[in-house]
């Protein structure tokens, strides 16, 4: 997953903890192999290789693509799994702002509306296009791992994939877990701690890969329609029944920016916490400290 992950389990026996742990490791490895865009042998790479002709995808990928399509529709085109080429232009490692030409070249191979998606056939509109399911697979993986633990008979625990959490279930005495909401700008630290008995917690934020030129921060949250960075929250955290839903809500709110994103979160009605660049905190999650 390319991020610090942790697994907390409470079980009767060490062996059942090991069995659950093994299932989690296997599931994470499977999804990483399948969807990582850093790997040349991934399914995502295969889709790119067949950009012109199209490829029949499996059920799981189709469900993920359906979900991505729904988020694209819900966000008016802000959420776009084809925006990867554009995102890389604003990578901190470039150490410079992308030029107008680069942006228009990237925009030419960006846009979910250019993808032909008729389950199970996926065909990219341009050989240069890429799909990157990274924006939803991590949260999906957290939910899947929590479920594999429950299937293995473990009812109490937390799956933490880089700060996106899926709870297997509350502590064995029924009390909630105390979990940290990761802080923007300092991914190792937590901005707040909350009590969570079950469900999922996800945070979308402007943590890494941000480009800083002359002291100005260019976020890696991009509007795929213009190619420009979005002025938004430093981070948005959402609690929901499933980590996948929490993550989608947090990501959409980030993409919408402070005004629209804030209104969206209020309308959504899920517990949330927003942190802006100046450190001011909003939302309605009850924090412990």
């Amino acid at each position: 997953m390319g991020c610090p992950c942790a697994l907390h389990l409470e079980t009767d026996t060490e062996s059942s903890a090991h069995a659950a742990q093994a299932s989690v490791v296997a599931e994470c490895a499977r999804l990483d192999r399948k969807y990582s865009h850093y790997r040349d042998d991934s399914f995502v790479a295969q889709i790119a290789a067949n950009a012109g002709s199209g490829i029949d995808v499996d059920e799981e990928t189709a469900d993920l693509l359906d979900f991505a399509a729904a988020l694209h529709a819900q966000s008016g085109g802000l959420f776009d799994i084809t925006a990867g080429v554009l995102t890389r232009l604003w990578d901190a490692r470039n150490a410079r702002l992308p030029g107008k030409d680069e942006i228009s070249a990237a925009l030419a191979v960006t846009g979910w509306q250019r993808v032909h998606w008729q389950r199970p056939l996926l065909r990219l509109g341009d050989p240069g296009m890429r799909v990157d399911l990274g924006g939803i697979v991590k949260e999906y993986a957290a939910d899947r791992c929590a479920q594999t633990c429950r299937d293995a008979g473990v009812d109490s625990g937390v799956v933490d994939l880089g700060g996106d959490l899926a709870l297997i279930g509350p502590h064995r005495d029924g009390s909630p877990w105390i979990v940290g909401i990761k802080a923007p700008r300092a991914p190792g630290r937590s901005a707040a701690r909350i009590e969570l008995p079950r469900g999922g917690l996800a945070t979308s934020g402007d943590y890494e890969r941000a480009l800083i030129i002359d002291g100005r921060r260019y976020s890696h949250i991009l509007d795929p329609r213009s190619g420009e960075p979005v002025q938004s929250f430093a981070s948005v955290s959402v609690v929901a029944d499933r980590c996948l839903v929490a993550g989608a809500a947090a990501t959409l709110a980030m993409l919408m920016g402070i005004d629209r994103g804030g209104a969206y979160l209020r309308e959504l009605g899920l517990p949330h916490l927003t942190i802006t660049d100046d450190g001011s905190v909003g939302g309605d999650i009850a924090c412990i400290d």
């Binding site: 359906d66 729904a70 819900q74």
Partner: protein, 53 residues
């Protein structure tokens, strides 16, 4: 007709899109109509009749 995928059913799943969003209020309205009109009302399992005039 194109199949409406599960993810496209978001609006259909809303409370205000149910056939009968508020059963308590519907029951009271139907009871009033039923007791004043000569032909019976809703489709579905019949509730108890009454001697209302």
């Amino acid at each position: 007709m194109q199949t409406v995928q599960p993810w496209q059913r978001g609006r259909l799943a809303r409370w205000d899109m149910r056939w009968d969003p508020d059963p308590l209020q519907a029951a009271m309205s139907q009871h009033a109509y039923f007791s004043k009109e000569g032909t019976s009302g809703e489709i579905g399992a019949a509730g108890g009749g009454c001697g209302c005039n």
